[in-house]
Symmetry: C2
Subunit: 166 residues, 2 copies
């Protein structure tokens, strides 16, 4: 039982609309967006992105992890981006647990001891944006001339609100 | 000078279309898609996803890293997903460098010694999908009953092709 077959059916219709066109590998706006995996955020329409416009990085919470830094270094140094937007959102799954309770849950349900692994939950969504902006500012792998913005997406209204760095 | 202001303008138009509606935190299809940050892939239309349908995880290459495992564990154990799709694509930025030359470039341009850090480049896109499917299968944090599929997206045609595991 797999939902993937439905995606493949939908993709056949998409191919007819897409046509054949080769867009450049380097994103047109030179922006990389770091955001959450949440299903209620469709980044392209919410920000007015056309195909080829911007890199979109997504994980649980939209947190700036080592893997996000890896991806941003490739985005900037190989593919020419020079701006980063950190976009978190309201009603986030990362606000539904603490590391301690999640570790207990994983021990009980998966029989895996994750010890003190940080799953990067947060309480206040504006604080989490500012925290991740600060990680970018302080990373030696992110040059000082990279423009960094922060924002919060409201999953109920689709509205994006700017977050100023602390 | 920031492109972010343009995104904010586009978002004001999006808000008018969006209206106000609260969708559930848990994705409707129970699928998490792991894919690349590439600007030429808009995941929602390419797979026929509506708002609220599926988690979308993206990094450079769509590689299954520790951070992707972190996100998938939250997706599955907190938010109810039970299926993963690994979706890489043609003409990927992760095919444009080797770790050795990239390390030299970063030393020269950023004055940072990344030593033997793995930026996860690959040569063959079907091999990279199979490699990442195997990482998922072997992870103790991904239960055996999670359905795992693999595929490659063609950035020129929009077409998705299934990749069978090795």
């Amino acid at each position: 039982m797999s939902y993937f077959d439905n995606f493949m059916k939908a993709n056949r219709a998409y191919v007819d609309l897409h046509g054949t066109a080769h867009l450049p590998l380097k994103p047109k706006t030179r922006v990389a967006i770091v955001t959450c995996m949440d299903s209620r955020l469709h980044v392209a329409p919410a920000l007015g992105l056309a195909l080829g416009d911007a890199h979109i990085l997504r994980n649980a919470g939209g947190r700036v992890t080592d893997d996000v830094i890896r991806s941003l270094v490739i985005s900037e140094q190989q593919l020419g981006t020079s701006e980063i937007v950190v976009l978190h959102h309201t009603d986030c799954g990362a606000q539904t647990f603490t590391n301690e309770e999640f570790a207990q849950q994983l021990k009980r349900d998966l029989a895996v001891d994750v010890k003190d692994r940080d799953f990067l939950p947060f309480e206040d969504v504006e604080d989490s944006v500012r925290e991740d902006m600060a990680i970018l500012k302080n990373s030696p792998l992110i040059p000082d001339d990279i423009v960094i913005s922060g924002a919060v997406y409201d999953v109920d209204t689709g509205r994006i609100k700017v977050v100023k760095e602390s």
